[in-house]
């Protein structure tokens, strides 16, 4: 018999569902996560799915976290094991003292279980088969039945789940009642046959507030709508396709002329990423706000055009939802691995602006801002999302829009300005900020036209291969990049309670894990100031933050410490002072990992002097 005490926890545990993809489990699992939110208890769910349509294993992990730790935690307290293919691995991954929920219709040998966990069998197949005859119904309702059983086991308020189902199937009475029926089938069976509740429980709390529950891709797509994007050209690629799909759906609702029904947007699915970025650059050249959505392999294909955008100075927005590379890599796994390939995309000397949102709320804000920056700076702006932010529902602050806000269309010379005799040189730095004026095609019958090219040209856009003319232009582009430094979102600093010699730099989706890790590190006696970088080029405060600390940890989700490389390269920082903390197995970084890696390093630093040991 096991002496392991079952885990007992209210509102702080991880449930993992092991399913087969294509079985309809995703909506039931999401319903589970939303139902917990309705209890006022924060959750952070993550989809772990294969690059496949039907038949391969898929997992859905729900971290229940009254303490608001929205990063991945690691480990599983309760496994809902619905996939025989992954059974052994799933059972092995349960924390000691954890729980296993499984379909007990078919007897399993004792060797398939573990003695140190609580096994909860529900004959799901038997219940569904005795209730439904249609095979598809059997499969779909089985998911709702296990949801019902979980409600009983975790002591959830069934009324809240019913309410959610009611909202989901509003106006579809038949579906609504059959789903509620299935929910009660599972719940009633569990209440009659099992000891409910178990050690893991959901209790009502008030920790969600007015926050919303949304995927980063969806929020970024809304940001594009609010930011005034009218042209979207894209090529399907995981994990970015849902961003273009969301933009399409939002435009259908929000961007049709109420009188004529006509579209105030144009969305084209390109034949490849080259065509997609070509369309974006053509539209940007012609004065429309345009963007593409892609992932690492798409960026690789687009690089020639990105160089054109940099050199010919054409606004473009690329939303890169990063996945694990190189090559096809792990298409359905997350990483922050395209910093170098985006920051310096294309041949020759190039540099590009990158924005690093931490969650869907920032994805919305930065997406909208990207269009202002692209037109102000007349260049490509990368919105650097990743699969973890993009394709998972994340609890975040509500999206906000100031109705007095106007689009910054940048320096555009109009027909009136030309008629007033304003001097127009397409690449003339009139304000000293490196940003020239442009004209839209078709502006004026005899003034302001120019020839756009990727070849070298002078300040008046005339072809030139003169070395001094070329260098003059390249210097101006550097000045423009300096201007960008103060325009992009600034880093956010949070200091430890007491002064410390150590700091940590992080960005993007690492954010919730980092915040949680700070607490864990404090428990071990390690104090760190932290700086969240939100954009490249780096603001001057980044260099001062590093200068203010003896050592700075740089936490990122790639193998080669790409952010650290950018910091060393762009700010001339001694690499010894930047300690890489790297997580790159394709799963989201966890607080446990960060605290472990930084804590171990800190422990090594604390060498006790020999004389103290003697005394």
């Amino acid at each position: 018999m096991s002496v392991q005490k079952p885990i007992s926890s209210v509102n702080d545990f991880v449930v993992r569902f092991a399913n087969v993809n294509g079985s309809g489990s995703a909506s039931a699992n999401e319903l589970f996560a939303r139902a917990i939110l309705r209890h006022g208890v924060p959750v952070s769910p993550r989809n772990i799915f294969p690059s496949n349509i039907q038949g391969l294993p898929t997992w859905y992990e729900v971290r229940v976290t009254e303490g608001n730790h929205l990063g991945a935690r690691g480990g599983t307290d309760m496994m809902v094991a619905m996939n025989p293919q992954t059974w052994d691995k799933d059972i092995a991954s349960i924390e000691p003292g954890g729980y296993l929920f499984y379909d007990s219709t078919k007897p399993m040998p004792a060797s398939k279980f573990r003695p140190d966990i609580t096994v909860i069998g529900v004959p799901l197949t038997a219940i569904t088969n005795s209730t439904y005859s249609d095979p598809r119904q059997r499969q779909l309702f089985k998911n709702i039945i296990y949801l019902g059983a979980l409600c009983a086991l975790l002591d959830m308020d069934i009324k809240l789940v019913e309410q959610l189902i009611g909202e989901q199937y509003k106006g579809k009475e038949k579906l609504l009642s059959s789903n509620v029926h299935a929910l009660h089938l599972g719940r009633d069976w569990a209440l009659q046959n099992l000891k409910c509740p178990i050690g893991l429980r959901i209790a009502r709390a008030d920790k969600v507030g007015d926050r919303i529950f949304v995927e980063g891709n969806n929020a970024a797509a809304l940001g594009a709508v609010y930011g005034g994007a009218t042209v979207c050209a894209w090529y399907p690629i995981t994990p970015s396709s849902s961003l273009a799909d969301a933009f399409t759906a939002h435009c259908k609702k929000l961007r049709h002329d109420p009188e004529t029904g006509k579209a105030k947007y144009a969305i084209v699915q390109g034949e490849d990423e080259l065509a997609s970025i070509g369309i974006v650059i053509g539209a940007g050249w012609n004065g429309a706000r345009a963007f593409t959505t892609t992932s690492g392999p798409g960026v690789s294909l687009m690089t020639e055009f990105i160089g054109l955008s940099y050199f010919a100075e054409i606004p473009a927005v690329i939303m890169n939802v990063q996945r694990a590379g190189p090559s096809t890599g792990m298409p359905t796994r997350t990483q922050q691995c395209d910093l170098i390939s985006c920051a310096y995309a294309s041949h020759g000397d190039t540099k590009h602006v990158l924005l690093f949102p931490e969650d869907p709320a920032e994805a919305f804000e930065f997406a909208a801002q990207a269009f202002d920056l692209a037109e102000r700076l007349q260049t490509t702006i990368f919105l650097m999302l990743d699969l973890d932010i993009g394709m998972n529902h994340r609890l975040c602050r509500p999206l906000k829009w100031d109705d007095s806000r106007q689009f910054d269309r940048g320096k555009v010379m109009t027909a009136e300005m030309l008629d007033q005799g304003r001097e127009f040189g397409r690449y003339l730095d009139v304000d000293g900020d490196g940003i020239p004026y442009r004209t839209y095609p078709g502006t004026h019958p005899s003034k302001g036209s120019y020839f756009t090219r990727g070849t070298s040209r002078d300040r008046y856009a005339r072809y030139s291969e003169e070395g001094s003319v070329y260098a003059d232009n390249m210097q101006r582009l550097l000045r423009k990049f300096e201007t960008a430094r103060d325009m992009v979102p600034r880093p956010l600093q949070a200091n430890a309670a007491k002064p410390t010699r150590y700091g940590v730099i992080y960005f993007g989706s690492t954010s919730p894990a980092m915040d949680e890790a700070i607490g864990l590190l404090e428990q071990r006696g390690h104090l760190l100031d932290r700086l969240r970088i939100r954009a490249f080029p780096f603001h001057s405060s980044v260099a001062s933050f590093i200068a203010d600390h003896d050592f700075v940890y740089v936490v990122e989700q790639n193998r080669d410490a790409q952010l650290r490389s950018l910091l060393v390269n762009e700010n001339g920082i001694d690499p010894v002072r930047l300690i890489p903390i790297l997580h790159y197995d394709g799963t989201p970084v966890t607080a446990r990992f960060i605290a472990g890696a930084i804590g171990d390093h800190q422990d090594q630093l604390k060498v006790t002097p020999l004389r103290k040991v003697k005394t």
């Binding site: 005034g228 084209v268 390109g270 012609n286 990727g454």
Partner: protein, 351 residues
């Protein structure tokens, strides 16, 4: 190079069009191409066509890829915005520009390397989408700037200047354009301006993807015996099916034609094309017949020219996308941004 200033003055008696512009107002920088290059004749034909149609030069956007042909937009319509983009990628840049502002006239200029080799995909997909444009390929079967390599339109068995015989099958862009659904397909010869100018005019007036393949011999690398793109070879094998004599507005066509010798085609914008038939059986409204005819003539080594196909009812990408009449680049916050009240509702739906 283009630093030689071209004198602006001209004879006061130079004819003016409806807008009061002379031909000189449609010119560009001085060409830097080789003396006698076929591409310069095409440039002249574009200037002539735009002058004749009384197009305001600044309402044209001229977009090209990379190569000798792609340099030419600098040599016409100096008051138009031009864009010498990326090798083989003119079609996507033009598509994006067209989406941003549907009110301009889009002239895409490309070459056979640009459109049949590196940019074959973009050529095909822009035609498929029916982008409203005039797409001109200045086709010489050879890479000029890199000194005489074959392009994908070079005929099998033709000989390069260095004596190499081409073993690969040729891509016929006209046949491709027909198959891909272009609403207007023509082929002409840079040495036949009287045929070319009306074709360009008709293409500009056409709504949707209008494609013109212009055989344009390269005097430096592909004008020798054994080449199938030399001036001599093209003149000998030019099989013109029709001559586009006039393009009129809504006025009656006043030229007298013998019955059965002319085909009148009315285009979307009301303009009418009078096609004088050379091959009496050729019907420029029959896509399938045009494709068959082209294949047969090509097998005999003949180069079919003329207006090969026109669909008077063709639509463009904007009609497929149902976009608003106003150019997208002119829409402001009020038209595009749904505002905070709508966002509050969206937030509520995400709780």
């Amino acid at each position: 190079m283009t630093y030689i200033a071209k004198p602006k003055f001209h004879h006061p008696g130079l004819p003016k069009n409806e807008l009061g512009y002379t031909r000189r107002d449609y010119e560009g920088k001085i060409s830097t191409l080789c003396a006698g290059c076929g591409h310069d004749s095409i440039t002249a034909a574009i200037i002539e066509a735009c002058f004749e149609l009384s197009i305001a030069p600044h309402r044209v956007a001229k977009i090209s890829g990379i190569g000798c042909s792609s340099k030419t937009p600098d040599y016409f319509l100096d008051n138009s915005h031009g864009f010498n983009s990326v090798h083989g990628r003119m079609p996507s840049v033009l598509t994006g520009a067209n989406l941003a502002n549907r009110d301009l006239i889009y002239l895409g200029v490309s070459g056979d390397g640009d459109s049949a080799s590196i940019g074959f995909g973009q050529f095909a997909h822009s035609i498929r989408r029916g982008v409203n444009m005039t797409y001109i390929v200045e086709n010489n079967g050879v890479y000029g700037l890199t000194k005489g390599q074959f392009s994908a339109t070079a005929d099998r068995g033709s000989k390069s200047k260095r004596g190499v015989v081409n073993a690969d099958s040729a891509i016929d862009l006209v046949a491709m354009a027909l198959q891909l659904g272009a609403g207007f397909v023509a082929r002409s010869f840079s040495g036949d301006k009287t045929q070319l100018v009306p074709l360009i005019e008709a293409a500009i007036r056409h709504k949707g993807a209008a494609f013109i393949d212009v055989i344009s011999p390269c005097v430096a690398f592909n004008n020798h015996a054994g080449s199938t793109r030399s001036f001599d070879y093209v003149r000998e094998h030019n099989d013109a099916v029709n001559r586009l004599d006039v393009i009129t507005g809504r006025d009656p066509i006043t030229v007298d034609y013998a019955p059965g010798t002319v085909q009148i085609v009315e285009q979307h914008d009301g303009s009418r094309l009078a096609l004088r038939k050379i091959d009496a059986d050729y019907d420029a409204n029959d896509r399938v017949a045009a494709m068959t005819f082209l294949q047969k003539q090509a097998a005999r080594g003949e180069i079919v020219t003329g207006l090969l196909y026109v669909d008077p009812e063709s639509e463009d990408l904007h009609s497929h996308l149902n976009t608003v009449e106003a150019p997208l680049n002119r829409l402001d916050e009020k038209a595009l941004c749904p505002g905070s009240a709508v966002l509050e509702k969206i937030n509520a739906g995400l709780r």
